[in-house]
């Protein structure tokens, strides 16, 4: 029997498990930071965190509160600037990137710019920031989202960050680097991937206690289903111990 865990702790663990050892990951503040830190402790000791304003290979003794703060280059291997890091990604050195957004479509395109019309927005959102860069340059991106119909939409209001754009071949046709694109979507309900051929979002595994119907109900487009949909292992005792004792001892993200 496992311990109780919070919804954020589940998201952190799911995102953490996606990352592989010996690779690099563009890290934003919040869940990606905790996920990277947990992955380093669990299964990916050689995962290199890269922060967009210049920190590479930091030892994450304290949780950064911002992508440029001192903790992002604490005992780091390099502290340079945004150009160096973004160009490193453009040269193909960054494997994973994390993304979020207000809206996502079945091709993994993301909106973090406006709700409504660009000229007269209903809600002005924060804008691309590094998101478009991460979505363009990283080999594989992982979106972390809250799962509901108003966010998983057939047509999003604005494509801030490229997913597979209009489908197979569209990224390459647009001039984006080969063999890149969305890889996983981690939500409070499930983990999704993308169909190799159609490049459309596909349900892979369900969070504990969640049904396929629930996911479909909360998704505003036709979701593909993997042949075998598995259940995600809840956070293990070991994951929770590291998360609570080592990664986030002050409980900032519990």
């Amino acid at each position: 029997m496992t311990q109780k865990y919070s919804p954020s702790e589940l998201l952190i663990c799911l995102a953490s498990r996606v990352m592989e050892d010996g690779t690099t990951a563009f890290i934003g503040t919040g869940i990606p930071m905790l996920a990277a830190s947990l992955a380093q402790a669990m299964h990916a000791p050689n995962l290199v965190p890269i922060f967009e304003f210049g920190g590479t290979g930091a030892i994450l003794e304290k949780l950064p509160l911002a992508v440029g703060d001192m903790r992002t280059y604490n005992k780091a291997l390099a502290a340079s600037g945004i150009c160096d890091v973004m160009e490193t990604a453009q040269r193909g050195f960054v494997e994973f990137g994390f993304l979020g957004g207000a809206q996502i479509d079945k091709y993994g395109n993301l909106n973090s710019t406006v709700i409504g019309d660009h000229a007269h927005p209903k809600v002005r959102l924060p804008g691309s920031g590094g998101a478009n860069d991460v979505g363009s340059s990283c080999w594989r991106t992982i979106a972390i989202m809250i799962h509901d119909k108003r966010r998983f939409m057939e047509k999003i209001d604005f494509v801030t960050t490229p997913g597979y754009l209009t489908g197979p071949g569209a990224r390459e046709e647009a001039g984006l680097p080969e063999n890149t694109g969305p890889y996983r979507v981690v939500t409070n309900l499930c983990v999704m991937g993308y169909d190799d051929v159609s490049k459309q979002m596909k349900l892979l595994s369900l969070n504990p206690g969640v049904t396929i119907e629930q996911v479909i109900e909360n998704t505003g487009f036709k979701l593909l289903l993997a042949d075998k949909i598995t259940e995600n292992t809840p956070p293990t005792d070991e994951e929770l111990r590291i998360l609570r004792k080592e990664v986030d001892p002050d409980g900032l993200y519990r």
């Binding site: 911002a66 804008g127 920031g129 590094g130 046709e173 001039g175």
Partner: protein, 324 residues
């Protein structure tokens, strides 16, 4: 012209440039800047009087609450100057400038309070139409635009932004690369009228050192017609000459040097002090409504004559606690 040779333009961002590119004008301006090692120290007020006017295109470095030139920003707000065109990199400065309604047009990348959520000051000004023009870019794109200006060339190529509405609502152009024949985006150079950068240390001439990450200080400092530096410490030029490889901004780029200890407060300064988290959280709460934000501005900006008065108000004890 090479016979029958031309490159197609596949797509153009729909906005004209907020700041047109005039490379020869930039060169002529740079030629006139003094190359002599003169004392450039002055107060925030003097620098802003001298180098900023209504409608200017202005830029700030770095990001969020990290190494921001806040003493200059408060003075800029107090100056009452307006109709600025700005590069919107989500720095804390902008929160104050939105509150004071000084922003007319934005080259927008990311304006938000990071983990603390969206900037309500920004939302109020954008959704009301007080900001009349918003052009979209990514973080890398805007920095590469500075980089193009810093190189003295009209554009930089990138594979980012392609295929998105971010590009459609920008001023970038997509052409066919004449070497690879792939689509490539061209980002126009961004020359800033007056830029503000806060550094760890500088001499009186403006030779600057920055510790830790350098953000986009290198590129932006070289993309400004006028450059105002605030610095935690003033050091002797001899110190600069001991480690010339640490000079990230050489003096000839700099027009004014302001000695501003804790100049990034309530933000952090690499290796020197941490963010004033209680104050910042208070700001986060107060920015939620126009009324409480006005109160904040009254108490922390308008109600104080200068940076020294601000530091007195924050108090020695609090500043010492923040110091590393």
């Amino acid at each position: 012209m090479v016979k029958n040779k031309s490159i197609p333009i596949f797509e153009e961002g729909e906005f004209p440039l907020i700041q047109p590119i005039d490379l020869d004008g930039f060169r002529a301006h740079n030629r006139k800047k003094t190359k002599a090692l003169i004392d450039k120290r002055m107060t925030e007020k003097e620098a802003i009087e001298k180098f900023v006017k209504d409608g200017d295109y202005i830029g700030f470095e770095l990001y969020g609450t990290v190494r921001c030139p806040m003493s200059l920003t408060r003075e800029l707000v107090r100056s009452g100057k307006k109709d600025f065109r700005i590069v919107g990199q989500g720095v804390h400065e902008l929160d104050l400038m939105f509150a004071a309604n000084q922003v007319k047009e934005i080259d927008f990348t990311y304006i938000s309070l990071e983990v603390y959520g969206i900037s309500d000051n920004m939302r109020r000004r954008v959704e009301s139409g007080d900001v009349t023009k918003i052009v979209e870019w990514s973080n890398a794109a805007i920095t590469w635009r500075f980089k193009a200006a810093s190189m003295g060339v009209p554009f930089i190529a990138t594979r980012n932004m392609l295929g998105t509405d971010t590009l459609k609502k920008s001023s970038a152009k997509v052409i066919e690369c004449p070497f690879t024949h792939q689509k490539i985006a061209l980002l126009p150079a961004l020359i800033v009228d007056t830029g503000f950068i806060h550094v760890n240390r500088a001499d009186i001439h403006g030779n600057c050192q920055i510790d830790g990450i350098s953000g986009f200080a290198f590129e932006m400092s070289r993309a400004c017609k006028n450059l105002i530096i605030s610095t935690e410490e003033i050091v002797d030029t001899k110190e600069i000459r001991k480690h010339p490889d640490r000079t990230i901004i050489p003096y000839y780029l700099v027009d004014a040097v302001i000695h501003a200890p804790y100049g990034s407060w309530p933000g952090e300064m690499s290796g020197m002090y941490e963010r004033d988290e209680p104050h910042y959280k208070m700001f986060v709460d107060m920015q939620k409504t126009k009324e409480s934000m006005d109160e904040y501005m009254q108490e922390w900006v308008y109600g104080l004559p200068d940076h020294k008065a601000l530091l007195d108000k924050v108090g020695k004890k609090r500043l010492q606690d923040l110091t590393l």
